[in-house]
């Protein structure tokens, strides 16, 4: 998975279709229940959100509280493990489980914040571009094409080196590198709508294009944006972890899974639990989000849905 540049180009090529088709027949919930992997992903993400919100209440210890005497204790099921520290302690005697629970906050917060910032800016640019057309459109598209061809990660490293790493900088840098996909998607939806017969008809009848577009735009934009945002979310959780691992992301005393892997890897051969648990946490989170994304992609795309239906039907036969 790429660290900074977007992987979600495919979504932006989604065809524009009449509104009703983007909704599954029995509603999202019924459709989700029929899709086992998607359901599993949604449940996992729900649990993660719960943990992130209530981490201070659930966590047995303060994630920063150290106890030098009780350092590098193994998890409960190994020799020397104690009930006090279910997943053991790190090199400063901090509780691994508590750090894991608190780490979810950073991962999910950076993910949400980045998607929100990049998404808002991208959608805005896409609207301007698609709505205004002409010169403005050319400029914005040119700008997007140029930035897409940037060496994103390295430029991000340069920004982090100049400004100094922090959670805010990470969000800004990741958003800066991720807004283009939203802009492209929005622009293509706007352009697609403009060419539909009913908009052309309305224009002929003297209705103002703006009103029509706005009325029909959001419903058409919502589904693909949701899919794109989810895919981006997964990418950003990985990107934050990677930047923190490199020491350029979240800084201690804050906790982040990527940071914990980086700190734990020096002790990897004596205390495997320091690297293993945060790594699994990242993989688990990203997997859950990816499952939801792939369900969303199929569900909101009638072509995909049809293919799936045909395959199931064929298989049943």
């Amino acid at each position: 998975m790429s660290i900074v540049e977007s992987d979600s180009a495919a979504v932006t090529d989604a065809p524009i279709v009449p509104i009703s088709d983007t909704h599954p027949a029995g509603g999202y919930w019924a459709d989700l229940r029929a899709d086992t992997p998607g359901l599993i992903g949604a449940i996992c993400l729900g649990i993660l959100l719960f943990i992130a919100v209530f981490a201070p209440l659930i966590a047995p210890h303060d994630p920063a509280a150290q106890n030098i005497i009780a350092r590098l204790q193994p998890p409960i099921w190994m020799d020397g493990g104690t009930w006090n520290h279910l997943l053991g302690t790190d090199h400063l005697g901090r509780d691994v489980l508590s750090r894991l629970l608190h780490g979810s906050r950073i991962s999910l917060f950076v993910g949400f914040a980045t998607v929100l910032v990049a998404g808002s800016f991208g959608v805005l640019m896409g609207l301007i571009s698609g709505y205004a057309g002409g010169r403005t459109d050319q400029w914005i598209t040119g700008f997007i094409d140029t930035q897409v061809a940037f060496p994103g990660l390295l430029l991000a490293l340069l920004i982090l080196a100049v400004i100094g790493p922090s959670m805010t900088t990470v969000i800004v840098v990741l958003a800066l590198n991720g807004w283009m996909v939203y802009a492209r998607l929005t622009r293509s939806v706007v352009l697609g709508l403009r060419q539909t017969a009913f908009v052309e008809a309305a224009e002929l009848l003297g209705c103002r294009t703006g009103r029509i577009l706005i009325r029909h735009l959001l419903p058409n934009l919502a589904a693909p944006l949701l899919t794109l945002g989810t895919l981006e979310f997964a990418r950003i959780v990985l990107a934050e972890a990677a930047l923190s691992f490199l020491g350029l992301g979240v800084q201690p005393p804050a906790t982040s899974w990527g940071l914990d892997v980086a700190q734990g890897k020096d002790y990897m051969f004596r205390a495997w639990w320091l690297v293993t648990f945060p790594g699994l946490a990242i993989a688990f989170t990203v997997l859950a989000i990816n499952l939801i994304a792939s369900w969303l992609r199929v569900t909101t795309d009638p072509v995909e849905r049809e293919k799936r239906f045909a395959r199931r039907f064929g298989a049943a036969k």
């Binding site: 094409d145 940037f150 390295l154 490293l157 100049v162 990242i282 993989a283």
Partner: protein, 308 residues
């Protein structure tokens, strides 16, 4: 064709120029270059000399022109960390990154094509489900963590491969595999879906009806028709890797390429070296983009001059 190439070249020039502008703004306007680039212990004379060397006493526009002129002849200045020309360091380190990159993309394609084809033969069958699960996992596991797991498994437990550094082919295996995996998983999905479409096409049924052997239908006809989308995605993956993907993997495996050098430069506050790595990478990305565009055009002349 030549108009096509010229146009793409022009786009590339714009990209490189934009990178120059962005880097200039970042290092000269946002950060105080003397504070950011010189060590704190630097004496007053060193500061003055450095200011003069960068021409910081002159108007900003003039500074920019000088800057562009130096970059144009690949004169990036002298590394603060190694006290020698930055270009020298880059020329030393770039081959390692390129070797790693091409090994990874080669590995990704070599693994993705057979896996994707096998999965496509029976969509929703057991093999297909396994392939889909593997590729979902491949997209979800953080690369740095995977690299550490590989070291523990293949180097320490099994003792098959070296842990780190560069040397023979054996040193290349683990970093290339780690780097290849996410690209491979995305490629598998593309191969799988294009092959599913292809195998449902009318001509396949005709060929099968005519009695052509299944492997020949799949291996020669269907795969050949899927080549363009597969190559397109492989090209994207290649560019993605070049544009900074290698940093994490090089750090984990102490692979002496540009990515590791970039991290070392950050640790030593050597922004002169870091910005040069950014430039060179931008140029590599642009050149690769251009080459890929030309290749696609050669394969499929219908490709429009669309703004991808």
């Amino acid at each position: 064709m030549s108009r096509f190439v010229l146009n793409r070249l022009w786009q590339g020039v714009i990209v490189v120029l934009s990178v120059v502008v962005v880097v200039f703004i970042l290092t000269r306007l946002i950060g105080d270059p003397v504070r950011v680039m010189l060590p704190l212990e630097a004496t007053a004379e060193q500061r003055a000399a450095f200011e003069a060397q960068l021409g910081l006493d002159r108007p900003i526009f003039e500074q920019f022109l000088t800057y562009v002129r130096d970059v144009a002849v690949l004169d990036f200045g002298e590394s603060l960390w190694q006290r020698r020309p930055v270009l020298e360091i880059i020329i030393e380190r770039a081959p390692a990154t390129l070797v790693l990159t091409f090994a990874a993309i080669g590995l990704a394609v070599a693994l993705a094509v057979p896996l994707g084809v096998v999965a496509a033969l029976r969509p929703e069958g057991i093999v297909d489900r396994i392939v889909v699960v593997i590729s979902l996992l491949g997209l979800s596991i953080p690369q740095f963590w995977l690299g550490l797991l590989f070291i523990v498994l293949f180097s320490l437990t099994l003792g098959w491969l070296p842990t780190s550094g560069a040397g023979g082919l054996d040193h290349l295996v683990l970093p290339a595999l780690t780097l290849a995996l996410p690209a491979m998983t995305r490629l598998v999905m593309v191969v799988r879906s294009t092959m599913i479409d292809e195998l449902n096409a009318q001509y396949v049924k005709v060929l099968r009806a005519k009695g052509m052997l299944p492997w020949r239908v799949v291996g020669v006809h269907a795969l050949r028709n899927s080549a363009v989308p597969i190559l397109t995605i492989a090209g994207w993956e290649l560019i993605r890797i070049v544009s900074g993907y290698t940093v994490v993997v090089e750090t984990v495996f102490a692979w002496p390429g540009l990515g590791l050098t970039a991290i070392q430069a950050i640790e030593r506050q050597d922004l002169i070296l870091l910005q040069a790595i950014v430039f060179v990478t931008a140029i590599m990305v642009v050149v690769l983009n251009l080459m890929l565009d030309i290749v696609y055009k050669a394969i499929d002349p219908r490709i429009e001059m669309s703004a991808k």
